[in-house]
Every structure is written in structure tokens, then in C-alpha cells.
Symmetry: C2
Subunit: 65 residues, 2 copies
């Protein structure tokens, strides 16, 4: 399955956060953030839920099928 929308990078930049800061906050490596932002991988559900918490938004605001 693929995603239609992935606004992770957009949200991260709007929140003036580096990839490393975000990685630390959600508990993954920087490479994982890079891979997701660049569309190499789709995040797992728990990771997507953590992103939404960090950005105080809904999962659906970040990702769409």
C-alpha cells in the first residue's frame, strides 16, 4: 500500500525542528526520518501516532491513503 500524501517534512520545517531532533523525540534514528520524508518507507502506525503527538495534529493531517 502506498500513501497519497506525506506532509512530515512540511510539518517538521514549520516547527523548525531538525531531522535529528525529531528522530530523538519519537525514538528512531535520523535515517528513519530521512527515509520517511523522502518516500522510501511508510512509517509504522505507532511511529505515525508519535509524529502526530509531537506536532499536536491528527495522523490524517500528516498522512493520507
Amino acid at each position: 500500500m502506498k500513501l497519497k500524501t506525506n506532509k512530515l517534512k512540511e510539518f517538521r520545517e514549520n516547527n523548525e525542528m531538525t531531522q535529528e531532533e525529531l528522530a530523538d523525540r519519537v525514538g528512531v534514528t535520523r535515517q528513519t526520518i530521512i527515509s520517511i520524508e523522502n518516500g522510501k518507507y511508510i512509517p509504522s502506525l505507532p511511529l505515525a501516532l508519535k509524529f502526530a503527538k509531537v506536532f499536536k495534529c491528527k495522523v490524517e493531517d500528516l498522512f493520507e491513503v
Copy 2:
């Protein structure tokens, strides 16, 4: 990573849907539904987004980290 909450079964039953109906609607097998409802597996993000669409709710209503 683990989920704190998984209300898939609850939502499915409240919507009077069988596991097979739900499986068909989101495009997976019945075994996948069973495994997720019984906590064997955490759904992928695209699948979680589809569940939320079917039940007209937010991903966060169904699953919590």
C-alpha cells in the same frame, strides 16, 4: 513499539460488521483482521487509515500509543 489501545473489534461490532466484511472493505484477508483484533500484530499505517475511513473516525480513536 506496542499499542496502548486497540478498539478495532469494538468499532467493528458497533458497526455490525463481520471480520470478513471489514477485511474486504479495507483490502486484506480475514486472518489479518483476526490477528490485529487479537493483538498479534499492529496494523500498518495505510491499513489504520483505511479502518478510520470505514468507521468515519480518526486513527487516534481506534489506536493509541
